[in-house]
Structures are given as C-alpha cells and as structure tokens.
Subunit: 251 residues, 2 copies
DNA sequence: ACCTGAACACCGTTCAAGT
DNA sequence: ACCTGAACACCGTTCAAGT
C-alpha cells in the first residue's frame, strides 16, 4: 500500500463523547448541551460548500442550514475568516501520507498527487484555501511537516528544503485553482457573443501576430489535465534533483 | 539593454484623438462626447485599485470616483467580471519582452522576473488576475505568445511548450499572490491572541511532532522573498532543461 | 445614446436584549 | 452562557424613466 492513513479528525467521528449524558441535572429548560459548537458549524459549512459552492457559502446561508440566525455563529467563530481557516484545515484532513521508505522523488510525487486529490474532493476547495490565512491548523501542519521532512531526508539543506516545500505547495494549489475555475460557464447563453470561448478562439486570432499560440491551440484547450499535472510535477522533481546533485558535488 | 518595450497601450496615452473636436455642430445641450467611456473607466479603476486595494474596488466606489452613479457603468461594461478582465489586461500592458537573441533559459528567467515586476507594480494585481476569467486581452495574448515562441525556439515540442508555458505563468502568479497576501495584518490588535503570528509560532509547536518545521523556521518566515523567487525559477528552468535534453537524446 | 433614481436581493458584522 | 432581533453599512445588478 502506497499511503498510510493519517489520524482521523475528531470532526469525522460523531463526537459521541459529548453526548454520553445529554441531559444533566441542570434545569432542563435550556439544554445543557448547546445546540451549536464549532465542530457542528464546520461540518455544516463543508456540506453547504459542496452543495452551493464557495460563492453560496455565506454566514446567512450557513445559519439557515443550521436552523439558527446568522448572528449566532459569531459566538462560536470570530468571523468568516476564521471559519475559512477551519474549513481549510478540515479539507486537508483526509490527506494520506506516502510510505517513508520510498525514494524521496516518489514520496514527493505521491504527496503532490494526494494534495491534488484532496483538493478536488471538495467543491471549490482551492478557493477556500486561497481565501484563508496562513495555514496553522493541525492537519496542514502535519502535511507540511512531512513534506519538509522528506526533503531534509533527501539531503536538501534547510534553505532549499523550505523553498522547495513552498514550491510544491504553490504548484498544486495553483494547478487545482486553474482546473477548477469554470471557463465553461458561458455555454448557457445561446448568444454568439461567447468571446472567451475556446471554440472560436482559434478563428479570431491572427496567424501573423500569434503563430505559436495557434500552433499550440490543441494543448492550450486542456485536453488532458492529469497529463499536464504530471508534467509539472516531473519538471519540479527534475529541477530539484539537479539542485541536489550539484549541491552534493560541490562539497 | 535586456528588454524591448512592447507597443504602448492606447490607455496609456491621453486618447487625444477623441478630443480633437470636443464640441461638434450637434445641439450642445448634451455634450456630443459622452462623459464616460471604457478607457476612462479602466483608468479610474486602476488608480482606485492602487488607492483602496481589491476589496475597495467596487462598482459603487468607482462610480463615486468618476462622479457618476454606479448604474451608469453598466452601459459601458457588462459587469464587474468584464471590468476585472479589462484591468487584468491593462495591468500586463507595461510588460517588457526580453531580447530574442538570448539563450532560451535567460529569456525565460527574464520573462518570469518581468511578470513578477509588473504584478508587484499595481496593488493587489495578482488578485485581480486571479479573479478574472481566462486571459484573452491583447497584452496577455502578446505575453503568452512570446513565452510559447521562446519555448518552441528552444526545441520543445508542442505539448511540452504548452505545458511549460502554463507552468511558468502559474508559478509567477502564485508566488506573487503569496507574497502579496498580508499576513502582517493582525499586528494592530494589541491582544496576545495573535495566533497565526510568526513570532510565537515557533514557541507553540511541539518539537516532537514538528521537528522539521521548527528546524526550518528561519526560512519559512520569508526572510528574503527575492531569493525564494529566484530559487523557484531556477528549479523550473533546470527541470525544463532536463526535459529538453532527454527528449533530444531520445530521437 | 447615455445617464439617473430607485429598487431588488443580497452580503458580513455588531450589539442590546432576551432566556 | 448562548442565542435572537434588529439594525448598520455595505455589495452587484436591473430597469423604467429621464434627457
């Protein structure tokens, strides 16, 4: 098996520990267990995200989904920013980790593939991650720790390992952002005004000004995204390998 | 000189051609020359962007800046989406192009540097580009044409050239997005709750769970962004060079 | 043809007030 | 402690009406 499962998030479980004694001796007018908690909010936000996408993920819609007023959310969460950070971390929770005994190159490629898989699993995940602040949730910390460890084990020095970690992270994020962005959203309009369409795109461009663009049109219209992703990972890995070799030859 | 200046945008000039005869024989109650046009809107939007940033760039603020009602904008522009696309292209207008006689590697590096320079020149430029649709404005077409031409001239086949073009574009975009994002926005609060601060960041992490993260803390807090950018470009170029050599050796 | 007034259907966030 | 009502200060966009 290529991957090892990371420890499962507390959110993934049913959080039964809080429900062992649902009604205590307290005055039962108000339930001792509050209706809302951060876990419930995050879980509801995730399913809402899958249903309506990033633009539909609003505090008000989330309140509606939970059957409460949007204002109530602010008791458990500082604001939408914090919610997005929590979501970012939760989205990365199912991230599996490659076998440590594999060569560093394969580990790195596996990490890239897994990261992409996890981001594609949830709707608009890349936008959520991009919209949230720096990543200090436990799952993302675990992830970057493993990336950096892999690079250090491979023989990179501190500086190169840190930068390479950024690079891999940035590449996957950007790639998924790009492939997720709906360029195909203007097909509903029957109007022939679909300018940015890839269909007539080629016919509009002048072969005098844009010969290369036209020559490469087949590949610019994204016939095989997976292939393009693999290409990028390979370039990165090759580049890093060069770096590693010249470094070691130098000393 | 390393760069050649691209043809200047019509927006950069004063658009005097429209003002030669400001008052025609028409009934002068309403000016024959309309108060608004797309060029004026885009130019005003750019200066507004520099003043208030991406979040402040709203249709209503833009209308205020132009001394008109926001609704009037929709006569000249389909919506905010189109405005962002126009801005994207205009932001890329000052992009200079490297000398074609240089080796492809240096041309590529120069293109990366120039692209970053242009994006850093305007406030929140990366967010504008990311927020807008696929890039089919004249300036961005010119830019990608040159990138692809450089790669084709270097000897890459169509597929690799196309993918490598994506890769370079994505890298620079993502890098600038990252370095532009204000992680330093929480300093105003005197509260010791600044969790995502890089200051106490190191003290909070357990050395048992995150040894690599702690070991690389110096470089993760971005001491030298320029250096990190150069690192990434170098890795990409090295990776592409490997690709090119193995391809040519294979046939 | 070009611009305005006025509205529609939303946002995130705050805060006194309830229980 | 936890949730609601009601407001504040915004958004993008539409569209009949003015000139």
């Amino acid at each position: 098996m290529l991957y090892c499962q990371g420890e499962s998030s507390p959110l993934s479980g049913d959080n039964e520990s809080m429900k062992i004694h649902p009604r205590k001796v307290y005055s039962p007018k108000r339930p001792a267990v509050p209706a809302l908690d951060q876990g419930k909010i995050v879980r509801a936000a995730l399913t809402l995200l899958d249903e309506v996408g990033f633009d539909g993920l609003t505090m008000r819609n989330l309140g509606k989904k939970l059957g409460i007023k949007a204002a109530s959310l602010y008791w458990h969460v500082h604001g939408k920013g914090e919610l997005l950070s929590l979501l970012s971390d939760e989205i990365c929770a199912p991230m599996r980790v490659p076998d440590r005994t594999l060569p560093w190159r394969e580990q790195l490629e596996a990490l890239g593939n897994e990261y992409r898989r996890v981001l594609l699993a949830r709707r608009d995940a890349a936008r959520v991650l991009a919209g949230s602040r720096a990543s200090f949730g436990p799952h993302r910390l675990r992830l970057t720790e493993i990336v950096l460890r892999t690079l250090l084990d491979a023989g990179f020095d501190n500086r190169d390992a840190a930068y390479a970690g950024f690079l891999l992270n940035d590449y996957v994020m950007m790639f998924v952002s790009g492939e997720t962005q709906d360029v195909n959203a203007e097909i509903e309009d029957g109007a022939d005004e679909s300018f940015s369409n890839v269909q007539n795109w080629v016919e509009v461009l002048s072969p005098h000004d844009h010969p290369s663009l036209l020559a490469l049109a087949d590949y610019l219209s994204e016939p095989d995204v997976d292939e393009r992703f693999r290409f990028g990972v390979e370039i990165l890995a090759d580049g890093l390998e060069v770096r590693l070799k010249t470094r070691n030859a130098g000393r």
